[in-house]
Amino acid sequence: MFEATEINLRHKRTEVLVKLLFGMMTALLILPVALILGVLIYKGSPVLSLEFLLTEPTNGMTAGGIFPALVGTIWLVAVALIASIPVGVAAALYLSEYAPNNWLTRTINLAIINLAGVPSIVHALFGVGAFVLFFRFGTSILAASLTLAIMTLPVVIVSAREAMQAVPQAFREACWNMGATRWQTIRRVVLPNSISGILTGVILEVSRTVGETAPIMFTGAAFFLPFLPQSVFDQTMAMSLHLFVISTQVPDVPEALPYGIALVLIAIVLSMNAVSIAFRMYLRSKKKW
């Protein structure tokens, strides 16, 4: 029969210790954030109400709600999605269905990585130089949303490409053998089988777009506007910038107000993310091939 020697026991003890150490490091990574979220909820929840979401800021933004910022964020996200989804899906289609393994494809992949790595404030400078000034959109929802669209493009491309590449090659070959063109194959086979995967990527993009602040600061988001935007050429308030303004630029703000805004912002972002993750897991479990 096997009996543990001194050296076996020592190894066992070391292993338990090592496991404990790394477990603690993981916990230390997550716990502070959990604590912070706890503080946000504790201090922010008293101001939360339906009224807070649906009324305008009053008294020099020291009281009232966040309605214009909420509406503005919806505008910004919607226009950014309209601009980025077609381009992102086209790019993913090219990379997944057409691209040969050559220098151009490698350059495209490198460009996508770099586009994701460019600092958000540099995207803002680009938005000012290109959309606000060169294309003469002025500081408007259109300029801000296009800046956001380019910034979050890599999210759409990468997730859409993954979804398309997950469609088995045999599906495409079966379709081609019936005499279908490449486009017919894409429309009838590739897209229907990857649409849910693309959708998870889009949800992820929404969550990313909602939180961005720097790219919209100089391209279309305003500190305070007493009216709601009527078209894409208007400026708008936005949730993320509103939190920045309230917590740094406005004097005599009651303490709970910025906590409330931060809480709403983080709730939107995290719930979109959670939906995306849950949807992805559901799709994985339903997968038939």
Binding site: E15, V18, K19, F22, G23, M25, T26, L29, V33, I36, V39, P86, V87, G88, A90, A91, L93, Y94, Y98, T107, A111, I112, I113, N114, L115, G117, V118, P119, I121, V122, A124, L125, F126, G129, I150, L153, P154, I157, T181, R182, W183, Q184, S207, V210, G211, E212, A214, M217, F218, S240, L243, F244, S247, P258, A262, L265, I266, L270, N273, A274
Partner: protein, 306 residues
């Protein structure tokens, strides 16, 4: 027998579907190269705004060696970026000191020790942490970390390198954890099995086999963390104190490159020296992050080609 004109008409399969197919191919190709167009576009448009300054007023020696960033001075505006560069570097450096050990530790725990449900939940949790917007992190630095630092370390101001560095470390850690965990997962199981067959214990396998084999992946994770640190704007703007200093301790307030652009662009007149100088900072940031991302990509590709 040669094909007659009639034969060629029959053989010609260019019907409507053929044309649609070709049109789609062109459209998709344009979409495909869009990322390249945008990267070039970003460079062209920020260079276009900053070019006037570079060719007339810009003094590289002043830019890289003078700590005096005083573009609004009426009699003698100076454009020394040294304090801003060191501000960004000190915050990013401290962030890496915080993030590297913890993200590597977490990656090892999630990748090598945790299993089943625990592992899946930890991965989801890490993914959610990575999603918290930077303006919210900035707010946390401003209103939660600031009083804590003043109280714990008995210093007059809590908005400093320590605050911004810890915030940035917490922001970068989830992404670095994910990349490091991918790198650990990419180490072939046969390596682990070979070591176990030689009688190695689990932690011996991790320290002597898995970690050395995943070295390029760990490097890539750190590089991407550094890139994130250099580019982070809102959190650093709100938590660093935003005052021009050559940092001598972690309790000094500093100002970062990104934060300078974010704070000053709104107050400058279009086309002025100050306005153009901010675009020059942008070109500098673009160049740094470009090199960092390129290096990280080469390191990662090195793993794949091995």
């Amino acid at each position: 027998m040669r094909a007659t004109a009639a034969d060629q008409t029959i053989l010609d399969r260019r019907n409507l579907d053929w044309y649609i197919d070709k049109a789609v191919q062109v459209l998709v190709f344009v979409g495909g190269i869009s990322a390249i167009i945008f990267i070039i576009g970003i460079f062209v448009f920020i260079a276009r705004e900053g070019a006037g300054f570079i060719f007339t007023r810009w003094d590289p020696i002043e830019f890289f060696t003078s700590p005096r960033w005083a573009p609004t001075s009426s009699h003698n505006p100076t454009y020394g970026a040294l304090a801003l560069i060191l501000g960004t570097a000190s915050i990013t450096g401290l962030a890496m000191v915080v993030a590297v050990p913890f993200s590597l530790g977490a990656a090892i725990y999630i990748g090598e020790f945790a299993s089943g449900r625990l592992r899946e939940s930890l991965k989801v949790l890490v993914e959610l942490l990575a999603a918290i917007p930077s303006v919210v992190w900035g707010f946390i630095g401003l209103s939660i970390m600031n009083p804590l630092i003043i109280q714990w370390f008995n210093v007059p101001v809590g908005l400093n390198v320590l605050n911004a560095g810890v915030i940035l470390g917490l922001m970068a850690a989830p992404i670095m954890t994910t990349i490091a965990e991918d790198a650990l997962k990419a180490v072939p199981d046969t390596y682990r099995e070979a070591a176990e067959a030689m009688g190695a214990t689990r932690w011996q396998v991790i320290f002597k086999v898995v970690l050395p084999a995943a070295k390029p992946g760990r490097l890539a994770a750190v590089l991407l963390g550094v890139g994130r640190g250099f580019g982070e704007t809102m959190a650093v703007l709100m938590a660093s104190g935003h005052s021009i200093n050559l940092p001598t301790s972690i309790f000094d307030s500093v100002r970062a490159l990104t934060a300078t652009i974010a704070a000053e662009l709104g107050e400058t007149a279009h086309g002025s020296d100050h306005y153009q100088a901010l675009f020059v900072l942008g070109i500098f940031l673009f160049a740094i992050t470009f090199v960092i991302n390129l290096t990280a990509d080469l390191v990662v590709r090195g793993i794949r080609n091995r």
